[in-house]
Symmetry: C2
């Protein structure tokens, strides 16, 4: 009986470690998630071993999902199309908490210090801010009220929400044509700086990797709106006003994602809306340097982390293709055919590999960015967004 008691004592002592036995003790620096858009699930992956660690289900409608990471790179926050906000523990492969915070969310951001999660909503409009710890509501910021075609009043859709240095968020209002800087220094009482008439129908935005420039794409007119966050007192200004003007416009199959704009060597590379070209822009003067003709309407235009290459995917019906542009010669150096539904790509943090979602093949393909050859593949159910944990350390991602 004495050894029985000893054993019992041991079990009680180590009960906590038994309870977490299914969780992994490992570094999170080489992990990531892949959204399975149709199943409403995600896969947690190890980017060193290039294998799946967990599958997490029950995340709702992920048809247009995005994600950010906690500053410890353990938790992913997934923003779903259905207004769902889900906190996933990637070391244990399980949902920590899930709330449906709005009717139709289209993206979110995490504050510089990692304490706050902001979500932008189409329905009912506005921005909600939550504690990253327990997803409790910290601030509810209503959008400007607009009147729709039927004469009904509603909150403007909010789009292009990003985090910025100094504990700020920046967001644009689609219907009312505004950009807002939201200072969360006092979380319960956000201080908002509103800029009106930034341009017609901002539909998405990006912040440059250094967190200085906030640039909103405009659906209702030519050009883009630029806000210098080092000098908000100067207000937003219109740039690239002649972009697209005088050209025959093609139907827009899919709005490009501005978060994917690439900065490399003093130049920005961005998708030309509705055109088969990538714009090359001087990122000091913000003027157009060149248009590079490409295979289709670009969706994501992303720089390899060292800025040597730009990788581009395309909207339907050209979404089976990736093109690689050399940032020095501006030539297309490779055209790849991963397959139909090539939806998203993510570079390893130091750029030696890129992971590409190929929806219709139910696989993620991995390419060596030096040889431009496919080296591995992973089975994933209708993959879309791929998000690696290195995003935890980057402004605007």
């Amino acid at each position: 009986m004495k050894s029985f008691r000893t054993l019992l004592l041991l079990l009680i002592l180590f009960a906590p470690s038994l309870l977490v036995a299914e969780c992994l003790t490992r570094g999170t620096g080489d992990m990531g998630i892949i959204i399975e858009r149709a199943a409403g699930s995600l896969k947690v992956v190890d980017t060193s071993a290039r294998r799946e660690l967990f599958r997490v289900e029950g995340l709702g409608d992920l048809s247009h999902a995005s994600a950010v990471y906690s500053r410890d790179a353990r938790y992913a926050y997934i923003f779903g199309r259905d207004g769902g906000l889900t906190k996933v523990d990637i070391l244990c492969g399980r949902i920590v908490k899930r709330i449906v915070q709005g009717g139709n969310s289209i993206g979110g951001a995490i504050s510089q210090d990692g304490s706050l999660i902001a979500v932008s909503n189409y329905e009912p409009g506005g921005v909600k801010v939550f504690s990253s710890d327990d997803l409790s509501l910290v601030a509810d910021i209503p959008a400007t009220t607009v009147t729709d075609r039927e004469g009904n009043k509603k909150g403007s859709k909010t789009v292009g929400l990003v985090d910025a240095p100094d504990q700020r968020f920046v967001v644009s209002l689609y219907d009312s044509g505004e950009s807002w800087i939201i200072d969360m220094d006092t979380p319960a009482n956000p201080s908002i700086q509103r800029f009106e008439k930034i341009g017609r129908l901002p539909y998405d935005a990006l912040i440059t990797p250094d967190g200085r420039y906030y640039i909103a794409g405009l659906f209702g007119q030519d050009g883009l709106s630029l806000l210098d966050l080092w000098h908000p007192e100067q207000g937003p200004r219109l740039i690239l006003e002649d972009y697209g003007r005088g050209q025959q416009k093609l139907p827009v199959y899919k709005m490009p994602h501005l978060e994917g704009w690439a900065m490399a060597g003093g130049r920005a590379f961005l998708p030309a809306v509705g055109q088969h070209s990538v714009l090359v822009v001087d990122s000091t003067e913000w003027r157009e340097l060149k248009q590079i003709p490409v295979h289709g309407q670009p969706v994501f235009v992303m720089a390899r982390p060292d800025g040597r290459q730009i990788w581009v995917n395309f909207a339907f019906p050209h979404n089976d293709t990736i093109q690689v542009i050399d940032t020095e010669t501006l030539d297309i150096v490779k055209t790849l055919k991963p397959g139909k539904g090539t939806l998203h790509m993510e570079f390893s943090p130091r750029g030696e590999e890129v992971w590409i979602s190929v929806r219709d093949k139910d696989e993620v393909q991995i390419y060596d960015t030096r040889t431009l050859q496919q080296t591995h593949r992973l089975s994933v159910d209708k993959p879309s967004g791929i998000f690696f944990t290195s995003r935890a350390h980057q402004t605007g991602l």
Copy 2:
């Protein structure tokens, strides 16, 4: 007896989890190490809770130590002055393996894919490359033989070792005035491209954050050597040839660290050797724009991650001070007095805080970079280098 057996079975089943019970199951994205230079130990820290997690002893002579991280951000590799290379598991707070690989090492790097650790040595010179897994020797690259003042032949000291994209390392040879590009695509058979006569006595080097330019500081002449890794066929060229010329030189109390050079907004900020100034250099043309007079001889000149501020510490006898420079106005906006032996600093990945080692106070001070006020302190025995895990994802760090 039946319950006894059940308990025994349970214990056996969960034995592995009991064995790792002292290790932490947590994200590694907000962790770091602080070198305790006198004690030959280090502290593992949590940068979110701002507290110590482990103290690891037995790392040898750490009087000039540096560190890199594995790609999963679980393991730190510490390069000691005594030629020691130590692999530390920061989740378990223990040494995994320690070897003394050379007589006097001065730094190291981890390959782009994370598989290789390279170490540069003063004694016997040359570069050794190890497996990051078990620290087994993969390649031993001897330095160019030189003849010293006494007529003895020896290998040149190797300095300024960095990792570069495409699985390369770059290093300089102090005595023979060379820079080498070491391509590790075939690890057992490195391919070496040698550039001779780069300038007299290169003493340290940096690689720009995008991995394109390798710049070596020269102790034996004015100017610096620049190698464009996108165009190695052009060879290195001398830049800033007039830097320092015609000025009264002060005795150099401590060679500045070139790894700390800061890039922000198309400009590089770098310590002027032996002078009380920070050089501002156009990083496209690589010509000097301005010299900013500062409090002493700068040692580390580091950009806040968003490039808005440059923080500078100084050599003895001015090593009780930090100055903060606004990168737009180039004015000194703040002079801080952390205390004597202000040796190193490290920014949180997204820049909201900076941690500063103050050796003679046995503490690390934490500052809010927005208010420039000290907010926290941590007791550390004679702290020097601070290295956060976000370095795992950055080229050249």
